[in-house]
């Protein structure tokens, strides 16, 4: 009587092996579905990227929908599948250790989905950012000369400024205020931050498992911003130092 109550199926039992195969096949099918969703999205995404103008709002909206389909829904399916599988393993008398081992597959699988989607997201924003940069370049006349409003002397205005600047005319001393094109100002948020993230992403992935790589991520990310948004170099440098030295920011990884 007692032996039947406490018997446990070992890992080599054919019934257990059959369940493991079923479980592995189930996870493989979910992975197939994940790939399918992103493949189906590729053509319409190309079309959208070809039509965007100066902002990535549509990319954000699409990304949210795709994340729901490819990560949230499929992870939910994994949990539902595991709940059934766990029930069957328990019925079979499989030991707690073996069940936990199979459960870890679900956790690892969901983490892989999330990481892969993060990579997809960063690349997607990168593609859109490059298209926007191209659009802005087409729109902006880089050779345009700017003259002082009072005396007409040429002013050394940088077209790619990201905030309004006051310039004192060397000739007459009047202060000229230059407000950059909104498209250029929008580059900072819709283009440069995404390209910075793309460049720093390998370090971000590494930092998930290796805390020492977090500084590398912040250095690459903010380094890119400081280089490409020189008007705000001091601001980004301050942010970088704060993130590198304040432990609260390590929690986001």
């Amino acid at each position: 009587m007692l032996s039947s109550l406490f018997k446990s199926t070992d890992s080599s039992s054919p019934e257990f092996q059959a369940l493991v195969t079923r479980w592995d096949n189930f996870l493989a099918k979910i992975k197939e579905r994940y790939t399918e969703v992103l493949q189906q999205a590729e053509e319409p995404l190309k079309e959208v990227i070809g039509s965007i103008q100066y902002d990535t709002v549509i990319i954000h909206n699409i990304k949210t929908g795709l994340h729901n389909q490819a990560v949230t829904q499929l992870s939910k399916k994994v949990d539902e599948g595991w709940s059934k599988m766990e029930g069957e393993m328990s019925k079979l008398g499989v030991s707690y250790g073996l069940i936990t081992e199979q459960h870890r597959k679900a956790d690892a699988f969901k983490e892989t989905l999330a990481n892969e989607f993060q990579y997809f997201e960063v690349s997607l924003y990168g593609r859109a950012a490059r298209q926007i940069l191209e659009n802005v370049k087409k729109h902006i006349d880089e050779k345009k000369l700017h003259s002082c409003t009072q005396c007409g002397a040429e002013l050394p205005i940088k077209i790619y400024s990201f905030m309004s600047v006051n310039l004192k005319c060397e000739s007459c001393g009047s202060v000229n205020t230059y407000k950059p094109d909104d498209r250029i100002r929008a580059l900072e948020y819709y283009v440069i931050t995404h390209l910075a993230e793309e460049q720093a992403f390998p370090a971000k992935l590494k930092a998930k498992y290796d805390k020492s790589a977090q500084k590398e991520y912040f250095k690459t990310y903010y380094g890119f911003l400081m280089e490409n948004v020189p008007d705000k170099k001091e601001f980004y440098e301050r942010e970088m130092n704060e993130r590198m030295n304040n432990p609260i920011f390590s929690l986001g990884f």
Partner: protein, 169 residues
């Protein structure tokens, strides 16, 4: 309490019909036709199938819902004739409409992708519209017209002493 065998049979037939329809090829196949015949249900004609396949109601797999509905009607007819009280209860609780609808949800093509793009399309250029070109100006005294001469000059005109910026009170 042991489950009534007639009820068990009824539920099992309902589920078998559902699974067979679902697992059949798009628009039905040989196996599904044989299954239909076993209930004396005639499969749809090739012309009707063609019409339905080209209609707005797209299916990705499985037999047409109307064929499943006809099988359900036959199953209900068969079990009603038994006059078993348990089966009568089961039949009363069986909603053929929602079962057929549930089946259609299973066989309709995945439409999530087009919905995602359709919903997002309204924001394609929404935030790029109305962007302003670069502007270049000089702050001048409203009283005498003298230009601002210092970048940090936010108080009075250096020429006539009037206030350069008016406060909104």
């Amino acid at each position: 309490m042991a489950e009534n065998n007639n009820v068990k049979d009824f539920n099992s037939e309902i589920e078998t019909a559902f699974t067979n329809a679902w697992h059949s090829e798009k628009g039905g196949d040989e196996k599904w036709s044989t299954f239909l015949n076993s209930y004396n249900v005639s499969p749809l004609s090739s012309e009707d199938k063609e019409k339905l396949l080209n209609s707005e109601m797209k299916i990705a797999k499985g037999a047409f819902p109307i064929e499943l509905r006809r099988v359900y009607e036959k199953i209900l007819e068969k079990h009603l004739s038994k006059g078993d009280a348990g089966v009568m209860n089961a039949i009363a609780g069986f909603d053929i409409e929602s079962k057929v609808k549930e089946y259609y949800q299973k066989i309709k093509p995945f439409g999530g992708m087009s919905d995602i793009f359709k919903n997002a399309s309204s924001s394609l250029t929404k935030y790029s519209e109305g962007m302003q070109k670069a502007k270049h100006s000089t702050m001048k005294c409203k009283n005498c017209g003298a230009p601002r001469l210092e970048e940090m000059q936010y108080d009075n005109c250096l020429f006539c002493g009037s206030k350069l910026f008016e406060a909104n009170n």
